[in-house]
Amino acid sequence: MTDVRLSQLLSARRTQPLSLAKWRLQLPVRLLPRPPRRRVRRRLPPPRRGALPPRPLRPRRPRRPRRRPRHCQPRSRAPSPEAAWCGCTQSCSPPSWTASSGATRARRGSSGRCWVRAAALPCPARRSLGGSAPLSRCPFLPLPPAGTVDKHSVEVTNCFSVPHNESEDEVAVDMEFAKNMYELHKKVSPSEIILGWYATGHDITEHSVLIHEYYSREAHNPIHLTVDTSLQNSRMSIKAYVSAPMGVPGKTMGVMFTPLTVKYVYYDTERIGVDLIMKTCFSPNRVIGLSSDLQQVGSASARIQDTLTMVLQYAEDVLSGKVAADNTVGRFLMDLINQVPKISPEDFETMLNSNINDLLMVTYLANLTQSQIALNEKLLSL
């Protein structure tokens, strides 16, 4: 076939002097033999030394829909800009000052409510780098409700710290670093955006205004959180602000930081984690171990027992007239009593026995399996 085409071509170009190079150039690409199609097999990259071993690929999972935030109350503007609201942000370790910032999901209501979610993940206190900068600024990443923009509340779910320098008249924040960290974080949770920034310290200064201005370029209406690690008034107050312009238009303009309510919101598992971690508050060297199965049941029932004692005490007080009766509490108590199901003793016996039998059988089978594999090991090593 190639010959036929060549001859045609040659005949077509008879008028011109044919040189090999020339008509080779003029050959339509199709005439050149087609390179054989090689199946290119992708070779896995060789394992890199000293790195994390390659993980097995996992099938892609469907994204679950994000939770919508709960609605919060209507706007209430508190007038004092000094009132600081703090929200705990997660996993922040500010570089300079000793800051322990909680990692919580702060769902901040720009109106009034702020729902702080997740357990406070306090960062370990860090030594101050230079001692001069009393505050550390960090942007934090919240989890925005995907799809819906709730005007009244915002959820803060994560944070990271950014190094900065502060002197009398100027403040320098390492923005490159911030961008870098944000990119890295986005790889893990792509739906988080920067919502604002936090600082340790109990007050708002002029520097805050500058930084806040910067962050208003990054995020729409940024939030400013302050975490008071200097423990003024013996409290670690966590407050949140949003900025609003004030002043006379055209003349002196200023920025006012209006406070917001901060609420703490948890996932269920986080709640359990926080409960466990809180026990370190009661231990002398702030150390707790993880307890075994029956111990946990025991402690849970002890907790319920305590609460029941409290309720009983209250009832007795009301009956003896020491405390005035409260209808709402009374109604709650009624609900409580009615929740205990009334089962006839025989039914209960059967239910109990069947459950116990199931559990015993499963325990027996588990023990049997274990002895079986132990036997297998012994036989193999003969």
Partner: protein, 346 residues
């Protein structure tokens, strides 16, 4: 599967003794006697799973911290993004390096000490985990893998365990020789594969202050999932997984038996005897005897199946059984309490 150190049970006494600031571990002993975790790490792991790991997937991440005497202190962690097919050009190493560099920049502990993984109903004894942990432990002597069980945690109590490979298993993995003879020589049973390291949680003072604050401010009601009597769902799933593994185990055993049978058949002296008889005949005829060749040169002996798989399966079955028994113990206790209450009512 794990030679369980009693630390997880004895909250007070166990780690009091284990915490002794001893010298470096003796040869053959593990380098890490206790793992001390910050509250921050625990909550970060929980959050990571909650946000990114619904369903059957595992979430993984890196642990950062320091080693102090024989204690491994974990002070921070960061999550690892999930693997997806369209992320073929994602460079894990670069991500890790970047993260660690940035953390170092802000004066956070950035030294790599281990990794964590979530698990589904306790099924984490896999080849992948073994390989990963081996390379970690090879590079960093004291590294651990933290296994977080979210389903068990959702039932009321935090389930976080730290595992390391035993020195024996490290030796075997180094040789990469998983034949039955090598394992027999090393005397490894499924109980000696992993060792569990007791965990304690420690917080700094500032964090304690923050926790007090939270306790005051948080309006979340106390949940009593731990005392719930509904157990059949969880039991059903665990048993299903156990049955799957047992099936795999039986298949593995069948394979091993066939191998043994083949070997014994081959080693039967039939060929040898024929050779000898022929030699006798030849001698009687006065011809030089044929050489009695080694049987193995004529027929290739069957390959012994690698034993690592069955070790892993056995280990996994053991974990399942332990978990089920623990769960059952709890539930029995709860049922008896319910019975006592009901009797009191009547």
């Amino acid at each position: 599967m794990a030679s369980r150190k009693e630390g997880s049970g004895a909250a007070g006494g166990g780690f009091g003794s284990a915490k002794g600031k001893g010298k470096a571990a003796a040869a053959g002993d593990s380098a890490v006697k206790q793992v001390q975790i910050d509250g921050l790490v625990v909550l970060k792991i929980i959050k990571h799973y909650q946000e990114e790991g619904q369903g059957n997937e595992v979430v993984q991440g890196v642990l950062l911290g320091l080693v102090v005497d024989d204690r491994l202190e974990i002070t921070n962690c960061f999550p690892f993004p999930q693997h997806t097919e369209d992320d073929a050009d994602f460079d894990e190493v670069q991500y890790q390096m970047e993260m660690m560099r940035s953390l170092r920049h802000v004066n956070i502990d950035h030294l790599h000490v281990g990794w964590y993984q979530s698990t589904y109903y306790g099924s984490f004894v896999t080849r992948a985990l073994l390989d990963s942990q081996f390379s970690y432990q090879h590079a960093i002597e004291e590294s651990v893998v933290l296994i977080y069980d979210p389903i068990k945690t959702a039932q009321g109590s935090l389930s976080l365990k730290a595992y390391r490979l035993t020195p024996k298993l490290m030796e075997v993995c180094k040789e990469k020789d998983f034949s039955p003879e090598a394992l027999k020589k090393a005397n490894i049973a499924y109980e000696n594969m992993f060792e569990e390291v007791p965990i304690v949680i420690k917080n700094s003072y500032l964090i304690n202050v923050m926790l007090w604050e939270l306790e005051k401010k948080s309006a979340v009601a106390d949940r009593h999932e731990l005392l719930s009597l509904a157990s059949s769902n969880h039991l059903g799933k665990s048993l299903q997984l156990l049955m799957d593994r047992v099936d795999e185990m039986s298949q593995d055993i069948v394979k091993y038996n066939t191998y043994l049978r083949n070997v014994s058949k081959q080693q039967q002296q039939k060929h040898q005897q024929r050779r000898q008889q022929e030699n006798i005949q030849r001698q009687s005829r006065g011809e030089p005897p044929l050489p009695e060749e080694d049987i193995n040169k004529l027929f290739k002996p069957p390959q012994p199946p690698p034993r690592m798989e069955s070790l892993l399966i056995a280990g996994q079955i053991n974990t399942y059984c332990q978990n089920i028994k623990e769960f059952n113990a709890q539930n029995l206790g709860k049922l008896f309490m319910a019975q006592a209450l009901q009797d009191y009512n009547n």
